[in-house]
């Protein structure tokens, strides 16, 4: 595989992981605009471990994800008391605080960034991406997925039906943060460098944009969003800026034409079709 193609696929895999990180809270009705901050936690923690503690890289990355999830868990309860736009802003503030805090930790390089010694290639990264995708798919094939969507659609009724709304929201938020942390760890160990500046609001916004663009009603959406975001600009061969211009323009247009995103329909594509009982009324548009 040529270096160029590998580079693209690596980016794709990392973006898929980030996408599922943003997808989970959105599926539960919350917007995590600080997702890049959790990616930063994962990146730095995993880099620190593999640099200093002779921890095998995959383990370090998982621990990084766990660290991000723990932080999310700690802040989720007070932060998730806010709602809607307030929540989006609170998560945004959180992300900026995490980034600013990391910039001040000299132990991991501060503003100069933190070099990472260990290096992982596409197969490892792809395995992680596949793992994350499979975990999300499986989760949404269980009552968890139905509960998350129920909480998203109608918190009051979900509560009356016996669902612990807060618990599901916190779980989605923390799990999503954990995936973002894994993505950060993958990034750190492939690009051999982490710097807090990269994990800012622009990254968070980009991730949220391609997740919403792909469609949040289905577990396939994030996959499609990440793919379009990563691959389409490659066809343009322009500079990085023009790719973002193009991507942003596409998102704007799609949001007008098809605000529910590209992939819609039922949440979980049926793995086992029972042809005798195909729904006649079909799927929603």
């Amino acid at each position: 595989m040529s270096g160029y193609v590998e580079g693209i696929l690596v980016l794709l895999a990392i973006n898929v992981v980030f996408a599922y990180g943003a997808f989970l809270p959105i599926a539960a009705g919350q917007l995590n605009l600080g997702i890049a901050g959790f990616a930063a936690i994962g990146g730095y923690v995993s880099a620190f471990l593999s640099n200093n503690a002779a921890v095998p890289v995959p383990v370090a990355i998982l621990v990084g994800g766990l660290a991000a999830a723990m932080v999310a868990l700690a802040v989720a309860v007070p932060v998730l008391r806010t709602r809607g736009i307030y929540l989006a802003l609170a998560t945004f503030a959180l992300g900026e605080i995490v980034r600013a805090a990391i910039l001040n930790i000299e132990l991991v390089g501060g503003a100069a960034g933190y070099p990472v010694v260990a290096f992982i290639r596409f197969p490892t990264i792809a395995a992680f991406a596949a793992g994350v995708a499979v975990v999300v798919w499986l989760l949404f094939a269980t009552r968890f997925g139905i509960a998350i969507t129920a909480v998203h659609d109608d918190e009051r009724v979900a509560d009356l039906m016996g669902l612990n709304v807060r618990a599901f929201q916190v779980a989605a938020f923390a799990l999503g943060a954990g995936f973002a942390g894994i993505g950060g760890g993958l990034y750190a160990h492939h690009f051999s460098y982490v710097e807090a500046q990269y994990f800012g609001i622009t990254l968070s916004i980009s991730i949220v944009l391609f997740v919403l663009f792909g469609g949040t009603q289905s577990v396939l959406g994030p996959l499609l969003g990440a793919t379009v975001f990563t691959l389409l600009p490659e066809l343009l061969r322009g500079s990085a800026q023009w790719r973002y211009v193009f991507f942003a323009s596409i998102v704007i247009v799609v949001m007008v034409l098809r605000p529910q995103g590209l992939v819609t329909g039922v949440q979980m594509p049926r793995l086992f079709r029972d042809h005798r009982e195909r729904a006649r009324t079909g799927r929603a548009a």
Partner: protein, 291 residues
């Protein structure tokens, strides 16, 4: 002691810039319940276009005017794609589109001008007041006064004019406004226009006074405007001003007390605290832009 006052003065100057951005955001938030993430981008357009034109030997008042005009056009484009042509989907969608516009503006700026920090020449050489040992920059004071005048004017418009009444009705209940025959589709653009111009003017003032611009200045500064809006109270214009001044002072003091590294933590920490403890802000109104 004197240093303390000087810091307050500096904080107020910076704060007046945040206040304008906060007011721009508050208009959208209060009237349309819409957090317009493109506002930091319009702030940047105001600042960078002023720089670009001044660099090409355009006299700064003309440069500022052209920048404002460009921002006005941009804000109307934003309105089209985030509001007018929107069909109601998830409540996130207009917010998301406005974020996409921010990315669009920022990257267009990088594509045209590069991502470096750019400097403006000194436009008001030696125009400093020295009063009681304090140094007060005249252009900054002018900027502060201009901000206050404009915001007061806006407040008057909202309270006294037909347009203002229509806007306040829309803020209360858009459907009722429709029933009352208020031409929402003709009025909503004015909200975007006014907030866009406020944001861009703020950027112009920043460029002219602090003389440094770069494509991502909207993130560094415009997003603090969001903090200002929340701290002061969403939907309340005078609260937005108070919020802006508070954030400006907090920033300046925190640089002094803790060093520049902790500025962001202080400002966003304050934002987070307010959101969790008192989300309607210090002077907030839950609905409707109060004049």
């Amino acid at each position: 002691m004197l240093i303390y006052f000087q810091q307050i003065v500096n904080g107020l100057m910076l704060g007046s810039i945040y206040a304008m951005v906060a007011v721009a955001l508050t208009l959208g938030m209060g009237i349309l319940r819409f957090l317009n993430f493109s506002i930091p981008g319009l702030f940047m357009i105001g600042g960078m276009l002023t720089w670009a034109l001044v660099r090409d030997a355009v006299p700064w008042p003309l440069a500022a005017g052209a920048a404002l005009l460009m921002a006005a056009v941009a804000s109307l484009v934003v309105e089209l794609f985030t509001w007018r042509w929107m069909r109601k989907a998830d409540e996130f969608v207009p917010l998301v589109s406005s974020m996409a516009f921010l990315i669009l503006f920022e990257n267009l700026a990088v594509a045209y001008w590069g991502s470096d920090l750019q400097s403006l020449p000194q436009l008001f050489a030696g125009a400093d007041w020295r009063v009681a040992g304090l140094v007060i920059s005249v252009p900054q004071v002018a900027g502060l006064i201009l901000s206050i005048v404009l915001i007061a004017g806006l407040s008057l418009i909202l309270r006294k004019t037909r347009l203002g009444r229509a806007l306040r009705t829309i803020a209360e209940d858009a459907d009722t406004a429709l029933l009352l025959g208020i031409p929402i589709h003709r009025i909503v653009p004015s909200v975007f226009l006014i907030s866009g111009i406020f944001a861009a003017l703020s950027g112009v003032l920043f460029a002219v006074n602090y003389r440094q611009v770069h494509p991502f200045m909207g993130e560094a500064l415009g997003l603090k405007g969001i903090s200002a809006m929340v701290v002061g109270g969403m939907g309340n214009i005078w609260g937005a001003i108070a919020g802006g001044l508070i954030i400006g002072c907090a920033e300046v003091m925190s640089i002094d007390l803790f060093g520049a590294d902790f500025v962001d933590i202080s400002v966003y920490g304050l934002l987070l605290l307010i959101l969790m403890v008192r989300p309607t802000g210090l002077f907030g109104a839950p609905a409707g832009a109060r004049a």
